[in-house]
Symmetry: none
Subunit: 412 residues, 2 copies
C-alpha cells in the first residue's frame, strides 16, 4: 500500500527559554503526550525555513513548506488574493486593503472603519469592475474590515508604496513609485485615481448612510499595502502529480496552499485562534486523506501567543495542538491508509521577541516505516539531537514527497 | 608517512524499518563486528548523495562519490561505454544496447535474443567500424546479451528516443528526435539506418546461422536506449593528482570510475551478487593500495536485495560485506601503509520501496588519526548521531581527499 502524509503545522511554534516557565520553552514546558509519541515513533530534526537568523513571514514560510524556493515569493497581496478565492492572472497587481474612515480632509479617523463586519460585500460590489484607463479593478471583501484589490491590465508594476499610513490622525499617503519605471508610474496613477473614485462612491453608498444614521463610522476609504505582482508561478503539487489539501482558518495559509495547487478546506468553526474547533479540524483532515495523498493541517494560536508575549497562553496553545493531534491519531486508527504523520512550523515566534525570529523550528516525521532515532519528546532541543539533524524547509518537503514516491530519480 | 584511503561502498545500503526484522533496518539487524569496529574507531555521519528526498541512480551516485557535481552527469550510455573499456571523445553519442530477436515483420520476439552469452564478440565485430554518412559506428559486446554502441561524427545529439519497446510482441520503435534540432534529426537518421543495416548483416552472420541450426533464437537485431552525449568532462582524480583504483564487478561502477580517472580493476570471480569472491576482492583492494593513494571497493548485493524486497537477504548481504571488510582489515594489518578506511553507499534501496529512495545513507571515516565521536555501531540511526553530522557526497569525497593532502588551500 502506498504511503499518505498528514503534515500538522503549528504556526510560530519555536520559542526561547522563558523565565516564568523555569527557563523552558513553552513547547518544553507543555504536557503533550501525542506529540511526544509521534517523536518517539520516527525521526526528529531542526529546520531552517529560509536561513538561520532570517525570520520569514507566515506566507513565505508556508510557500517554503510547500516546495517553493524563496526567490518565487510573489509578495503578500497575491497570496491573500488567492486565499480569498480570487483567480489571479500573470501580471495582475494585488494589494491587501482595509476599509477605513477618513474625514473631509482625508485624514484617517479609523484605519478599520469601526472594525466593520457587516455588509462589506455590498461595499465591495460597488467598487468591483471599475475601469481606469485600460486597467480593470477587481475588488473582494475578506474577513471583517479586510479586502483584496487587484489591478488587471498591461504594463503594471508592484514597485509602489503603501497608502496605509499605519497610524491614525494623519492624512492617507498617496501612492508613490519605489522604482522610477513607466510601469510603476502608471500603477501609481491608476491606484491614486482608484482611491479617490472609491472614496466618492463609498461616501454615497446606502450601507454607509445607514452606518452614519446608527452612529457608526462609515467605511468611506480604502487603504492599501503589500503590492505584489503575480508571476507565472508553477503549482508545486501539480508538478509532483500529487493530490493535496490544506485544512486551515487563515486566508494567508489557504492562499499559499492554493498557489501550490493544494485544495484549501476551511469552515467558519475554524477560527484561527485557541477557540478553533479542533475535533472538527482533525476530522476534516483525516477525511481529506481519502481523496488526497498529502494533507496539511494548520493551527494558528501558537503564533498569536508568541506575538502577545503570553508564555502560559502559548503553553495552552501547544496543549490544544496536542489534543488536536490526539483526535487525528484516533481518526487515523480507524482508516485503512498507511499514513505518515509529520510535525512542523512555518517559523519561530519567541514570546520575548513578540515577532517572528530566525530560530530553527523542531520537526518530526513519524510512522512505522520511518527510521527510529530514539528521541522521545517533541521540543526544540530534543529535535536538535534527532536523526534528521538540521535540514531546511525545501529538504523537509522533498523528503516527504519521496515517501509518496513523487520525486524523480536522477541518473539511472 | 602519508595517508592512503580505502573506501568501501555497499550499493543501495540504506533502508527503512522492516516489520519482519522487529522494526529494525537490515543494517541495524545484521551482525557486523568489523563495520562496528570501524565506526568505533572514527567519525560517523549521514550523507545525502544529491539532495534529501531525491533518489539517484547507481551511475550518478558513484559520480557524486568520485567528486563530480550532479550537473556533470552525461547520461547512462557514456558511463556504460566507459565501463566496457571504450574511449569516448567529446561529442560521441553512446547507447546501451541489447542483442534481440525480431521476426520478418521486425516484431520483437525476444528482447535478449534467448539470453545469448556466446560469440557476441563475433557479432559485434561485424558491426564495428560501419560508416553512415560522416558518422563512424563503434560497437562492442558487453556481458551476456548487452553491448555498447557509439556514434562518432560531427553535429550529433543525445535528444533521441529509445528504440527498445521494453515489451515483446510489438515492432521495435523507430528512433525519434525529442527536441526539434538539426543535430537530433541527423542522429535519428543515422541511428535508424544503422538498425536496418545491422539487421541485414546479422541475418547473414554465421553465428546466427549456427544458432538457428541449433534451435536457438538468432541475435538479429539491436535495440537501443539511454542515449548520452559525451561532454568534455574533467577527470576528478587527475585534477587532484591522486593515483586511484576501483575494485568492482559492475560495469556502471567501473565506468564511473574510469570517467573520473580511477583505474578499474575487475575479475570474472567478482559477480556483482552475494556469491562474489569476497576474499579475492579484499585482497585485490589491499594489493591495489601499494600503487594507489585511493582505492574504492564496491559491493553490489545489498542493492539487489532491496530491489527484491528481501530483508533477510539484505541482512545476509550486509554480513557478507562485513566479512569482506574483515578480510580487508586482516590484509591491512600486514602492510606498512597508514590506511584510513571509509564506509559509504551510493543511495538507499529500502526493501519496502523496491527502488532507490532519497533517504540519507550512513557513512564512516575510520583510522587512528580520525576524530573519535563515541559512536560504536554502523547503521542509519547511529550514524545520524555521529561527529560528521549531515553531509553530502561531495563534502565526503572532498574530506577524504584532504586526508590525502590533495585539496588546495584557499586563501593564505
Amino acid at each position: 500500500m502506498k504511503n499518505k502524509i498528514l503534515l500538522a503545522i503549528a504556526d510560530g511554534l519555536g520559542d526561547r527559554p522563558v523565565e516564568c516557565l523555569g527557563g523552558k520553552t513553552p513547547l518544553e514546558y507543555a504536557k503533550k503526550p501525542t506529540l511526544d509519541d509521534l517523536a518517539a515513533n520516527g525521526s526528529s530534526g531542526i529546520m531552517d525555513l529560509y536561513k538561520l537568523g532570517t525570520p520569514v513571514g507566515t506566507d513565505l514560510g508556508h510557500m517554503l513548506l510547500f516546495g517553493y524556493d524563496y526567490t518565487e515569493y510573489p509578495g503578500r497581496g497575491p497570496i491573500e488574493a488567492f486565499g480569498e478565492g480570487l483567480e489571479l492572472e500573470a501580471g495582475d497587481v494585488a494589494f491587501r486593503v482595509n476599509f477605513a474612515t477618513v474625514d473631509s480632509e482625508l485624514v484617517v479617523v479609523d484605519r478599520r472603519a469601526g472594525r466593520i463586519r457587516k455588509d462589506t460585500d455590498k461595499l465591495a460590489l460597488s467598487l468591483n469592475g471599475m475601469q481606469i484607463e485600460d486597467v480593470k479593478v477587481i475588488f473582494k471583501e475578506a474577513t471583517e474590515h479586510r479586502a483584496v484589490l487587484i489591478l488587471r491590465g498591461p504594463g503594471l508594476s508592484q514597485d509602489i508604496s503603501d497608502t496605509d499610513p499605519k497610524v491614525e490622525a494623519v492624512k492617507y499617503k498617496e501612492a508613490k513609485a519605489t522604482t522610477p519605471t513607466p510601469e510603476a508610474e502608471k500603477t501609481v496613477r491608476i491606484l491614486n485615481q482608484f482611491l479617490l473614485n472609491a472614496h466618492k462612491m463609498l461616501l454615497q453608498h446606502p450601507v454607509n448612510k445607514e452606518r452614519e444614521a446608527a452612529g457608526e463610522k462609515p467605511a468611506n476609504f480604502i487603504l492599501t499595502r503589500g503590492a505584489g505582482i503575480m508571476p507565472n508561478l508553477r503549482k508545486t503539487a501539480d508538478d509532483l502529480k500529487i493530490r493535496a489539501a490544506c485544512v486551515a482558518a487563515e486566508s494567508t495559509v489557504l492562499g499559499a496552499a492554493r498557489l501550490a495547487g493544494i485544495t484549501p478546506i476551511t469552515d467558519p468553526r475554524f477560527t484561527g485562534n485557541i477557540d478553533t474547533d479542533i475535533a472538527l479540524k482533525a476530522k476534516t483532515a483525516v477525511d481529506a486523506l481519502k481523496e488526497n495523498d498529502f494533507v496539511v493541517l494548520h493551527f494558528k494560536a501558537t503564533d498569536l501567543m508568541g506575538h502577545d508575549n503570553d508564555p502560559q497562553g502559548k503553553v495552552n496553545a501547544v496543549e490544544t495542538f496536542d489534543k488536536m493531534l490526539g483526535f487525528v491519531m484516533e481518526g487515523l486508527s480507524a482508516i485503512e491508509e498507511n499514513v505518515i504523520v509529520a510535525l512542523g512550523a512555518d517559523h519561530s515566534t519567541p514570546c520575548e521577541r513578540r515577532e517572528h525570529s530566525g530560530d530553527p523550528v523542531p520537526v518530526v516525521i513519524s510512522g512505522k516505516n520511518i527510521r527510529k532515532d530514539g528521541i522521545t519528546t517533541y521540543d526544540e532541543m530534543a529535535a536538535a539531537r534527532g536523526g534528521l539533524n538540521r535540514i531546511n524547509a525545501n529538504m523537509f518537503f522533498n523528503y516527504l514527497m519521496d515517501y509518496l514516491e513523487a520525486t524523480k530519480k536522477v541518473g539511472n
